[in-house]
Subunit: 220 residues, 2 copies
């Protein structure tokens, strides 16, 4: 939630300005840590937003990133000076006639934005904001673009590993894909297809009240 103009009392994505001697990705990682108290395993680039009029204060070029984090780290949020950060559930409905609705919600807050689908190039769909509600700047557009890109990416087995730590169970990997793509797959088939991308370690999970799961590593 922004405390100052422009877009006072509007919700905004975490972010900030580049400091000397850091790369853009380092900056994004620093900002997300400062503002949410969560440090993701890795960041996936979404795109550059450079329309001159996107910030009324002046010309600001934003590079957007997304990430998947573990369920546990969700609760870390707001632990530090990140008290003003919130998690939102996300629903994105692409209707007919190229119009799309973005809904963000949690226990207290409901946000809504309307966008139109502009074009799809190289797997990335771009949107134009029709009504951004109480979302600051063009952040509704960034969220829609990021979500679309994320689902696109996760369709390929080659990328879902990057959302998990080095060693993982195949079930965890499957859940990452299911969560992102909003699908459910049969474990037997998932394992068969994923097997060429992973190598097994000799470690197992422990003490879970059921058969322990072997830990795997990304191949290569």
């Amino acid at each position: 939630m922004r405390g100052a103009h422009p877009f006072k009392d509007h919700w905004a994505l975490p972010g900030g300005f580049l400091k000397p001697n850091e790369t853009i990705e380092e900056c994004a990682l620093r900002e997300i840590t400062e503002e949410t108290n969560v440090t993701p395993v890795s960041l996936m680039p979404v795109g550059v937003f450079s329309e001159p009029e996107r910030d009324p204060r002046g010309w600001v070029i934003s590079n957007a990133y997304t990430s998947i984090i573990s369920e546990e780290s969700i609760n870390q949020i707001g632990g530090n000076d990140a008290s003003d950060a919130r998690w939102f559930g996300i629903r994105f409905e692409k209707g007919d006639s190229g119009e799309a609705q973005l809904f963000l919600s949690n226990g207290e807050i409901q946000l809504r934005a309307t966008l139109t689908e502009e074009s799809t190039k190289f797997g990335k769909t771009s949107f134009r904001i029709k009504d951004s509600g109480t979302l600051a700047f063009d952040h509704a557009k960034i969220i829609a673009t990021a979500l679309t890109a994320l689902r696109q990416e996760a369709g390929s087995f080659a990328t879902i590993f990057d959302f998990l730590p080095e060693k993982f169970t195949l079930t965890a990997l499957q859940k990452v894909q299911e969560a992102i793509m909003d699908i459910s797959v049969l474990p037997a088939n998932f394992r068969r297809k994923i097997s060429e991308y992973v190598v097994e370690t000799d470690e197992y999970t422990q003490g879970a009240g059921h058969r322990p799961a072997k830990l795997y590593r990304k191949k290569l």
Copy 2:
């Protein structure tokens, strides 16, 4: 070929600085047109290069794009004030131990660079330059990254259309994929798989000394 320091007499990718009131993609399209006399159908984003020390004159952040252009437009190059631009054939060999060799060549000039593969995240491989030869700045790294990303993307049928005009023959589409991925596929199988992504028009190619080919359009 650069005429001024830094990297005088080194070869560099076409590029330039953002002007007021243009987006980064518009800038890239303007620069490529100015410097090569070729205007691509569309640009595919490769990534951001923001290491503080990549330009000795100061901190410069570059956004890289690639494109595929038609064979005819190759000959337009240098027609205008783009006299210092050249086409290069590209060969990229990933050896063992994560070391990769980049070769650029045309009739007169041979360029070579050595890189090490650093990591692969979200389908994009990042490289570190060991020896950039007579390539300016970190452009060897950008080329290697772009080529890797391009091949990654072209593996999906969903994206290869963006390299062609609105109406195209299936053979042309096939050649795009073959060129990028450096593979050859059987026409019968390619047609079967691509069919769900295209719709046929009622137009045909003409006067080619053989059966005319139906023109297709990207579906949706």
